[in-house]
């Protein structure tokens, strides 16, 4: 046992590392290939000539920059709203006894399993009737809905671990109810709320089906949808290298968040998922 076995595990760990990172290297390597040499058959793994040209192309493209704005705005607003709404619900679930608690949890679970595609038709039609087709709000509403179940489950799992008696102890020590809540409970709850926020942001940043169905112009089209409809500056230009450059740009926030909050994301993903 000992070092030899430990080395083996490290070896397998490195393989996992490669498995996760390899496609990203490929993405970056395509993004740095010059479109001209790429057309002439630069099909090696790494570019024969490195260039920033593709990044220039995508940032000059109004379609991409507006999609980036839309994605960021919609994801941030939907995340904030869903975290706030879910926070109330999760507090109630973790703390209070009330009728409908079970129902709320089962409903959240049901919606987590809901096939979004089943809503594409009705929402498409209703949103047009309401005049919110192809607007931010038209995406924020369904994102909020589909982010809520995850938020409620993870947050109530976090909230359950808070020793609520501490609040009473603080009150006994002379703090008002509000002070006790703010000084004791809020700091304990904050990490769970924050973690839920990151997971929700990932969901909104990633969502494609609704974005593709409920938008038609660069007014509200988010990055995943814009990427899928991107055909290159001209029809003769292969969009491959530009699409990859855009992909690199939108992957950076994800990688940064993962690097910064790795522990919390793991905790969030597994909290509420497995009894513990």
């Amino acid at each position: 046992m000992g070092t030899k076995a430990s080395n083996w595990w490290t070896f397998w760990g490195v393989l996992i590392l490669a498995w996760a990172a390899f496609p990203l290297v490929w993405m970056a390597s395509l993004a740095f290939k010059s479109p001209a040499t790429f057309r002439d058959g630069d099909s090696g793994f790494f570019p024969s000539e490195w260039t920033w040209e593709n990044f220039q192309t995508v940032f000059e493209d109004e379609l991409f920059t507006s999609a980036l704005r839309n994605s960021a705005g919609i994801a941030v607003i939907a995340t904030l709203l869903s975290v706030i709404v879910a926070m109330f619900a999760a507090y109630a679930i973790a703390r209070l006894e009330f009728r409908g608690k079970k129902l709320l949890l089962s409903m959240a679970l049901g919606i987590a399993m809901f096939p979004q595609a089943a809503l594409v038709g009705p929402l498409f039609n209703m949103w047009r009737g309401l005049g919110i087709y192809d607007t931010w709000i038209g995406l924020i509403i369904p994102y909020l809905t589909f982010a809520l179940p995850l938020s409620i489950w993870t947050m109530s799992a976090f909230f359950r671990q808070i020793p609520w008696e501490m609040e009473q102890a603080a009150q006994v020590d002379g703090a008002t109810a509000w002070q006790a809540f703010r000084k004791v409970i809020v700091p304990l709850a904050a990490p769970g709320v924050f973690t839920t926020g990151i997971l929700t942001f990932f969901f909104c940043w990633n969502e494609f089906l609704l974005a593709a169905s409920l938008t038609s112009t660069d007014r509200a089209r988010t990055v995943p949808a814009a990427l899928s409809f991107f055909t290159g500056a001209s029809q003769f230009q292969s969009p491959v290298t530009a699409v990859m450059a855009a992909s690199v740009v939108v992957t950076i926030p994800v990688v940064v968040l993962v690097l910064l909050f790795q522990r919390r994301i793991v905790a969030g993903l597994t909290a509420g998922a497995v009894k513990g």
Partner: protein, 315 residues
């Protein structure tokens, strides 16, 4: 916790006929507050899912194209007949089923192996756990593009690395499905492996040691000790991944746009409703898709005889 300290809500009567006034006041107050706090979540979730689903149910009974709004007409179950007798529906069902079964099966094995490595590894543990989150966080459309370009003839390295010449992966059904499933597996194995890791750490180490002392082989320990003790985690992981894979849309949309019989059920719903604006038949597809999801969830929960709310840590 003393119940008498809690003040009654202002609009509540101070006493109850049964004489247990303070308790029921407090309870009523709590119930009310609980309901108020969770009401927004209730309302949003119902408004955006149940209502449109009901609307889809109604629409599915009509012949209705957005391009021909005047031709709207009640036709009963005929849309369902049309959909269910169309080979396109059944091809989508089989495509979706193949992707789901293959990807979940492979992910379960691979995810368990990953979880095991992350459990045992000492050097660079947090490194590996960080790396595995990257595929999870990446946009599915981006991952679909990455793998599509890797397998594509003009841009990819796969053919030259594996000496496949000019084999066109996206030229036929099975190879297209292979690439779609491959991309799905790359992207979602982290999810399953993290859930399994969470289950794995809850298996008491002493049990394994005891089995070892009793002379159980590693294989026996795995099947008799480890796996039974993480049944709940496996159940949750498989259920969630199955339902998730059943709704697959992004990968086939980007990789094949549904060519060569690679259209999935979500894709079919999208195409009928949005591309063809055939809202009558599209709604029938939506309702049927919803029913298949309900059916799968039902089979799982009955089959595993597990109360899911319990698995999810609700008490």
């Amino acid at each position: 916790m003393t119940v008498t300290e809690t003040p009654a809500g202002p609009d509540e009567p101070a006493t109850e006929p049964d004489g247990k006034a303070p308790v029921s006041d407090r309870l009523r107050h709590e119930r009310k507050l609980g309901f108020r706090l969770s009401a927004p979540a209730f309302i949003v979730m119902i408004l955006v899912t149940a209502y449109p689903l009901g609307y889809a149910l109604v629409l599915s009974l009509y012949s209705y194209r957005l391009t021909d709004p005047d031709g709207r007409e009640f036709i009963g179950l005929q849309n369902y007949m049309t959909v269910l007798t169309d080979p396109i529906w059944w091809s989508s069902v089989s495509t979706t089923a193949i992707i789901t079964v293959v990807s979940v099966a492979i992910e379960l094995v691979l995810g368990f192996a990953f979880a095991w490595v992350m459990y045992r590894i000492i050097k660079g543990r947090s490194f590996v756990r960080t790396a595995i989150l990257v595929p999870y966080g990446i946009i599915t459309v981006v991952s679909a593009f990455i793998w599509r370009y890797a397998f594509q003839l003009d841009s990819g390295f796969v053919n030259s690395w594996f000496g496949l010449g000019d084999f066109n992966w996206f030229g036929e059904r099975w190879s297209s499905l292979f690439v779609i499933t491959f991309s799905e597996i790359w992207k979602t194995t982290p999810f399953i492996s993290l859930l399994l890791l969470a289950g794995l750490v809850q298996v008491p180490e002493e049990l394994q040691e005891a089995a070892k002392v009793d002379g159980a082989t590693p294989w026996q320990r795995l099947w008799k000790v480890v796996l039974p003790n993480m049944k709940a985690a496996i159940m949750v992981a498989v259920l969630f991944r199955t339902l998730d894979a059943w709704r697959i849309f992004d990968n086939p949309f980007i990789m094949t746009a549904g060519a060569n019989d690679t259209e999935t059920l979500s894709f079919l719903a999208y195409r009928q409703n949005v591309t063809l604006v055939n809202l009558g038949a599209g709604s029938a597809v939506s309702v049927l898709l919803f029913l298949t999801v309900v059916l799968i969830a039902f089979i799982f929960i009955k089959g595993f005889k597990t109360d899911l709310s319990q698995v999810r840590g609700d008490d």
